[in-house]
C-alpha cells in the first residue's frame, strides 16, 4: 500500500475542497465578466469591470453611453440570469435526486418544461397577456404539472421513483401535444415566442426578469443548507433516515416545495432549459462525493458557471444568430444521461 494513502475515496476532500470552492467562485466571476464582454460588439474585460463598478457605486458619469447600455442594460442581466438559472436548476436537481433516490431525476424529465410551455402558449394564444402574464402562466403551468406528476407517483405518501419518471413522461407528452395543437392555431409571429418556452433562452433578459429566480434560488439555497445532514440520511433510505431522527415526511415536503419553486421560477424567466439539473449534481458527486454539505454549494457554483458558458456558446458559434440555450444543454445532456444509464446497469449486475 502506498505511503500517501488518500484520506477519502472522493477525488476532492479536506483542504482541497476549500480550494475547489474558491476556484469555482473565481471561475464564476471570470466567466461572468468574460461573457458580458463577448458579443456582436466585444467590450474589453477592463471596461466591463469599470461599467459595473460605476453602477454599483451609483456614479455613472463619464461612461461611454453605448458601452454602458450594452454592458449594463443588455448583457449583465442576461449573463446573471444564465448564472441564476444554472444555479437554481442544479439545486432543483439535487433536491429531486435525493427525494426519489433516482440518479436520473431532473425537473425536465418530470414534464415541468412541458407544463411551463403549455401555460405560456395558452397565455400567448388566448391573448390574455397582461404585464408578466406569459411568465406568470408559465410559472403556474410548471407548478401544476409537477403537482400532477407527484400526485400520480405517490402511494400512501411515498414517492415511487419509477412511477415518477413514467408519470413525468406521460405529462410531458400530453403537455407537448396540447402545445402542438395550440401552435397550429397560433399566429406565426407568436411561434418564436413558443420556441422560447420549449427550449429556453436568456436572450433579451432585463433586470426585472432576475427578481423571481434570484429570490427563489437564494431562499431555497438557504433552506436546503440547513437540511444537508437530513438529506444525506434520506439519500440512503427512508427508513434509515427515520432511524437517524429525521422527520421524513416534513423533509420530503420541503424538498418537493423547493424543487417545484426553483424550477417554476427559472422556467418562467428563462424557459425550459433541460438537463442542467441532471448533469451538474452528477458531475459534482463524482468530484466531491455525495455529502450534501458539499454537494449543495458546489452544485450551485458549478451550475452557474456551466450555464454562463453554455449561453456564451449559443451566441458565439453561429454569429450573429443565436441558438436556444436548451439545444446546447440537451446536446450535452442526452449523451450524459445515456452514459449514466449504461453505468448504472453495469453497477447493478
Amino acid at each position: 500500500m502506498p505511503r500517501t494513502e488518500r484520506t477519502s475515496p472522493h477525488l476532492v476532500a479536506g483542504g482541497r475542497y476549500v480550494l475547489l470552492v474558491g476556484a469555482l467562485a473565481v471561475a464564476l466571476l471570470a466567466a461572468v465578466a468574460f461573457a458580458i464582454g463577448t458579443g456582436t460588439v466585444d467590450v474589453p474585460v477592463g471596461q466591463v469591470i469599470d461599467v459595473i463598478t460605476a453602477h454599483l457605486r451609483g456614479d455613472t458619469t463619464g461612461l461611454d453611453a453605448l458601452t454602458d447600455q450594452i454592458v449594463w442594460d443588455f448583457r449583465t442581466p442576461r449573463v446573471l440570469l444564465a448564472a441564476v438559472a444554472g444555479a437554481g436548476l442544479s439545486l432543483a436537481g439535487v433536491c429531486l435526486q435525493t427525494l426519489v433516490r433516482n440518479p436520473l431525476a431532473d425537473p425536465y424529465v418530470f414534464g415541468v418544461s412541458a407544463g411551463a410551455s403549455l401555460g405560456a402558449v395558452i397565455a400567448l394564444t388566448s391573448g390574455a397577456v397582461a404585464v408578466g402574464g406569459v411568465a406568470g402562466a408559465a410559472f403556474v403551468g410548471s407548478l401544476l404539472s409537477m403537482l400532477i406528476v407527484f400526485a400520480m407517483a405517490q402511494r400512501g405518501g411515498r414517492l415511487l421513483g419509477s412511477s415518477l419518471v413514467l408519470a413525468g413522461v406521460a405529462i410531458a407528452y400530453l403537455g407537448n401535444a396540447i402545445t402542438g395543437y395550440l401552435q397550429l392555431q397560433a399566429d406565426p409571429s407568436e411561434l418564436r415566442g413558443v420556441m422560447f418556452w420549449l427550449l429556453g433562452s436568456v436572450a433579451g433578459a432585463s433586470w426585472a426578469d432576475l427578481t423571481v429566480p434570484v429570490i427563489a434560488t437564494a431562499s431555497c439555497a438557504l433552506a436546503l443548507a440547513t437540511q444537508a445532514r437530513p438529506m444525506n440520511a434520506l439519500s440512503t433510505g427512508d427508513d434509515t433516515a427515520a432511524g437517524l431522527g429525521v422527520g421524513v415526511n416534513q423533509l420530503r415536503i420541503l424538498l418537493l416545495v423547493a424543487s417545484s419553486l426553483l424550477t417554476a421560477a427559472v422556467v418562467s424567466s428563462a424557459g425550459g432549459i433541460g438537463f442542467v439539473g441532471l448533469i451538474v449534481p452528477h458531475a459534482v458527486r463524482l468530484v466531491v462525493g455525495p455529502d450534501h454539505r458539499k454537494l449543495i454549494p458546489v452544485s450551485l457554483l458549478t451550475g452557474a458557471v456551466f450555464l454562463v458558458l453554455v449561453d456564451l456558446v449559443t451566441r458565439t458559434v453561429d454569429r450573429p444568430n443565436e441558438m436556444p440555450i436548451g439545444i446546447v444543454t440537451a446536446a450535452l445532456g442526452a449523451p450524459f444521461f445515456l452514459i449514466l444509464l449504461r453505468g448504472r446497469k453495469r453497477a447493478m449486475r
Partner: protein, 257 residues
C-alpha cells in the same frame, strides 16, 4: 432503557397489518421478533423507530411516548439497522458512520473533534477502522453491517433495533454480527428469521403470526414444537447443543403434518 409497546395496531389501506401488539423489553436485554414472512415483524419495529405511525396504541421508551416526542429525540433514543440501505450513493465508511451524529447536531453545526472521536471509537469497537476511507458500497455484506452497527453506536442511543440484520450474510459474518450485538449490551429488539439464532442470542422471544402476537417468553417455551408446527408448518425440537450444552433449535425435513 426500557421499551414498552402498548397495544400497537397498524392498518394500511383498510388492511390490518398489526393488531393490538404488546411487548416489554427490559433494559440491557435482547428480544427477538420471530414469525413467518408478512407476520408484522418489520412493521412493529418501524412503529418503534418512528418510521410508521401506528393506527392505535403507543410506544414508550423510558418515560417518553415515542410518537409524542420529536423525530430528533427518537434518533437519540433508538438506533436502527434497517433493510432499505441504498448503495447508489458513494459515501465513504467514515461519512456513513458520521451520519449517526445527526440527531445530536444543530442545523448548520459542523463536525467537531468530539464527533470525530466518537466516530473513530465506534469504528474501532467494530474492528472496521482499517476501512474508514473506503467506499461503503464496495464492502462485503458482513463488513457493511458492522459499519452500520458503528453508525448506531455514534448515535449513542440506549436502544438498538435490528431488522433481519443477518440477511444475505455468510454464516461466519452472521455469528460475528450477533456476537457483536450481544457484547454491546444495549436494550435490543431484533427481527430474526433464523430460529436457532433467536434461541441462542435472545433473552426473550415474541412470536408473531398474521399480525398478532401469539406468545412471548423465553426461547425454549415460545418455540414449543406444537406452536412451531402451527405457525411455521415445520417439525422441530429443542435439544442441548452437543458443543455448548445450551438450547439448540433444530428442524426436521418435511411438513409438520
Amino acid at each position: 432503557m426500557k421499551v414498552d409497546v402498548r397495544g400497537v395496531s397498524v392498518v394500511i389501506d383498510d388492511t390490518p397489518i398489526l393488531g393490538d401488539a404488546h411487548l416489554t423489553v427490559e433494559t440491557g436485554t435482547i428480544t427477538g421478533l420471530i414469525g413467518p414472512n408478512g407476520s408484522g415483524k418489520s412493521t412493529l419495529l418501524r412503529c418503534v423507530y418512528r418510521a410508521l405511525k401506528p393506527t392505535g396504541g403507543s410506544v414508550h421508551i423510558g418515560a417518553d411516548n415515542v410518537w409524542r416526542s420529536s423525530a430528533r429525540q427518537a434518533g437519540r433514543r433508538t438506533a436502527v439497522l434497517t433493510q432499505d440501505h441504498d448503495l447508489d450513493n458513494d459515501y465513504s465508511v467514515e461519512e456513513t458512520v458520521a451520519m449517526g451524529r445527526l440527531p445530536h447536531k444543530g442545523l448548520l453545526a459542523r463536525d467537531n473533534e468530539t464527533d470525530r472521536a466518537i466516530v473513530h471509537n465506534a469504528l474501532s469497537r467494530v474492528d472496521m477502522t482499517w476501512a474508514a476511507h473506503r467506499s461503503f458500497a464496495r464492502l462485503s455484506g458482513g463488513e457493511r453491517q458492522r459499519v452500520l452497527v458503528a453508525r448506531a453506536l455514534t448515535q449513542q442511543a440506549p436502544v438498538l433495533l435490528l431488522d433481519e440484520p443477518t440477511n444475505h450474510l455468510d454464516i461466519g459474518s452472521q455469528l460475528d454480527l450477533l456476537d457483536l450485538v450481544r457484547e454491546l449490551g444495549l436494550t435490543t429488539i431484533a427481527a430474526l428469521h433464523d430460529l436457532d439464532h433467536a434461541t441462542a442470542y435472545c433473552d426473550n422471544l415474541v412470536l408473531l403470526h398474521r399480525g398478532r402476537v401469539v406468545t412471548t417468553g423465553e426461547p425454549a417455551s415460545v418455540l414449543a414444537p406444537d406452536r412451531v408446527a402451527e405457525v411455521f408448518g415445520v417439525r422441530s425440537t429443542i435439544v442441548p447443543h452437543p458443543l455448548t450444552g445450551q438450547p439448540h433449535f433444530v428442524t426436521a425435513p418435511g411438513p409438520a403434518r
